[in-house]
Amino acid sequence: MIRPHRTHALWLAFILHRLSGIGLALFLPVHFYMLSLALTDPDQLDGFLAFTDLLLVKCAEFGLVFLLAVHMFGGLRLMALEFLPWSPRQKSYAATAVALAFFVSTGFFLQAV
C-alpha cells in the first residue's frame, strides 16, 4: 500500500551488513564441518581442498572473503558511529568500508589463483 523509501546510501549499507551476516552464518556450519573432516576423514577433506583449486570455486571463495571483510569493516563503522564522537560523514565511511572489503578480497583472490 505505502511505498517506503529504499534509496539512500545508509539503507544500502544496512542491507549489505545484514545479508553478509546471514551469508556468513549459513556458511559457518559448513566451514566447521569441513575442518573437522581433518580428524574424521582426512582423505575426503584433501579431495575437497583439491576441488577448491577450480577457478569457479575460487570465485565463490572471493565472495565469502568479501562477505567477511565487508561485515567486519561495516561493523567497525557502526561501532565507531555508536561509541566515538558523532561524525556526519557516515556515507563516506560506509563507502570506504566497501572499498576496503574489495581491496582485501581481491588481494585474497590474486593470491589464490
Binding site: 551476516g21 546471514i22 552464518a25 566451514h31 564441518y33 573437522s36 581433518a38 574424521t40 581442498l49 561501532m79
Partner: protein
C-alpha cells in the same frame, strides 16, 4: 528484540572479533598460496596452544554474535517472537559452539580418531 544485555554482548563479541578477523584474513591470504592441503593445515595448527586459543576464542565469539544477529533477523523479517525466538537463538548458539569447537579440536589437539 534487543535488550541492553544482548546489545552489549553483540558489540563486545564484535570488538573481540575485529582483530581475530584481520588475523584470519591474513592467514587465509598467506595459506591459500599454492593451494591447500590437510597436511599443510595440520602442520601449522597441530598441538599449538596459540592457534587453539585464537580459533577457540573466535568460535565462542562468533557463536554468540551470530546467535544474537540471527535472532534480530528472524524477529524482524519472519515475525518470530517470545519463547520461540529464545529457543531459536539458543539452538544457533549451541550448534555453532558444538560444530566450531569440534573443528578447532580437530585441527589442534585431536591426535588420532574421535
Amino acid at each position: 528484540m534487543l535488550t541492553l544485555r544482548l546489545y552489549f554482548a553483540q558489540r563486545l563479541t564484535a570488538l573481540i572479533m575485529a582483530p581475530l578477523t584481520l588475523g584470519h584474513l591474513a592467514v587465509m591470504i598467506y595459506a591459500v598460496q599454492g593451494g591447500l592441503s590437510v597436511a599443510e593445515i595440520l602442520a601449522r595448527t597441530q598441538g599449538s596452544v596459540a592457534w587453539f586459543l585464537f580459533y577457540g576464542g573466535f568460535v565462542v565469539a562468533v557463536a554468540v554474535h551470530a546467535a544474537i544477529g540471527l535472532r534480530v533477523v528472524v524477529s524482524e523479517w519472519l515475525g518470530v517472537r517470545g519463547i520461540a525466538l529464545s529457543v531459536f537463538s539458543l539452538v544457533v548458539l549451541a550448534t555453532l559452539l558444538l560444530l566450531g569447537g569440534r573443528a578447532v579440536w580437530a585441527v589442534t589437539f585431536a591426535g588420532g580418531g574421535l
